[in-house]
Amino acid sequence: MREKLHICICVLCVLLAVTLGRGVPLLFSEGMPQAPGEDVLHLILGDARQELSAAMLEKAEEYFHGGLRDVDCEYGLESCEGHDHEAHDHEAHGHEGHAGEEGAAAKARDPWAWVDRRIHAQEHRHLEGNQSVELLPWIWAACRAAPQNVQAFQTGSYVLAKMAGRPEEGVRLLEEGVRANPNDAELSFSLGELLLNTLKDAARAEPCFISAFEKCRPADGPDGDEARLLKVRTLFYLGYLAKRRGDLARVRACLAEAEAVSPGHASVRGLRKLLEK
């Protein structure tokens, strides 16, 4: 008799829990603590997603340097913009990993450090060419962990387009990044650059530069320096594309705007040269 009572109470509790679970979000849809549409990762990790994404990018950096961490090297993945991998002589620099920070005298007295230097690789190297695909799983994880991590999308597109020789995949990744970060000017700019410089597709590139220009709103003072730099570079590309169409009025307008933003920048000189030609 008691057992049947316990079973009935258990079943009633389960039914009540299910009913409340379905009914409460419908009745109090505006007062629920979490925003609708959030995925499982966001619910579990919250703001820690950014940290996880940053950790995944650091892992990619570690892989780039042959498994060494905290490498003192000017050619990391995060400084990849402007780094020509084909021209760079990777034999020329042999920086050591974190073990290189200790004094030589201390190293000589410490047998454990001596053993450690022989077990673990000390001088780093860089992944090149087809080996760069090894970075992709970590970059993929960084992009999925935090779609707001703009650096992850930019690094991923660089690896795909420049290192792995797959520019179309790089474009797709940047497009995904733009969809996830609709107000970010950097991603639109990077997409335009990739389309123009690598795929030579000016028709697809121009809307990206226009979008980047519209999104770019530099703040006053030193905080807006990076945004001003991005804006003047965007104006250069818009002027360059206008020149290709023969629209000199547009080029002059870009030059005037660039001179107002950053008169001494190389892009301004570039725009003047376009007008002189």
Partner: protein, 260 residues
């Protein structure tokens, strides 16, 4: 001598049989398969060919499970014997405390290293099937050094099993293993950066603590670095044997003074 070897063999055999009877190894292999199999078909951004991430994850699982098995086997060596009082008939026979200790240690070590061999064979097969590289020399070196890691960890677990409860033993040994693997390489830099009291503590850990990071060749295996010189391997293996001997000597002293 023959009698001693027979006694050691019998004691050691018990631990090996115990490991395989408990089916811990099968559970661990199945768990590894469940984790690694989906990753084998993963193509980030539609690009195939990446393998290092999977090799690293597989080796991480090998290290994690081997440490768990090694500590689990060694921490269960003596407490169940004391609780169920089966240690008395063992010592009543002409088996000295030293022989019992050494036999138990060799058994735990044999069980742990045999499990380790299974893991490395599975890893070698995984890499061979995915990348076409079958059991390179660096993998053999990694196995030898990893066995040295098990020599020390098993000795630490055995020492702890005589002095601590099983839960405390597992916790302490686990902290030592994880701590040295993560921070052992950075100890000199940490010592240089710390003020005086902390500096002495870290220096004591650096000189006396077990440098388990010496046995970790994952970086070289995963990222295709050349293998370590065999002289260094021999030196590191000698370090493992010396450290384990020190732990066993200390365990022998504790066991001799222990009132059963």
């Amino acid at each position: 001598m023959k009698v001693l070897l027979r006694q050691l063999g019998a004691l050691a055999g018990l631990s090996v049989v115990e490991l395989y009877r408990r089916k811990d190894l099968i559970v661990v292999l199945v768990l590894s398969l469940v984790i690694l199999l989906p990753l084998a078909f993963f193509t980030p951004f539609g690009v195939a060919g990446a393998s290092r991430y999977m090799n690293e994850l597989a080796l991480l699982l090998v290290w994690l499970f081997s440490a768990v098995i090694g500590l689990g086997v060694s921490s269960r060596l003596f407490p169940p014997e004391f609780e169920s009082r089966t240690v008395y008939p063992l010592l009543a026979k002409p088996v000295g405390r030293g022989t019992l200790l050494l036999g138990k240690y060799l058994g735990a070590l044999a069980a742990s290293v045999s499990a380790l061999a299974v893991f490395y064979v599975a890893y070698g097969l995984l890499v061979g099937l995915r990348q076409g590289v079958w059991f390179p020399a660096i993998l053999f070196q990694a196995f030898v050094l990893h066995a040295g890691f098990m020599v020390i960890v098993t000795a630490l677990g055995l020492l702890g099993s005589l002095a601590l409860t099983p839960a405390a033993n597992l916790t302490m040994c686990g902290l030592v293993v994880v701590g040295m693997l993560f921070f052992g390489q950075r100890l000199p830099a940490l010592i240089a950066a710390q003020p005086v009291p902390g500096k002495w503590v870290l220096a004591a850990i650096h000189w006396v603590g077990p440098h388990l990071e010496f046995f970790d060749l994952r970086q070289r295996v995963v990222h295709d670095w050349p293998r370590v010189g065999w002289g260094v391997c021999v030196a590191v293996s000698a370090y493992a044997l010396c450290y384990a001997s020190a732990c066993l000597t200390l365990a022998g002293c504790v066991f001799r003074r222990k009132k059963i």
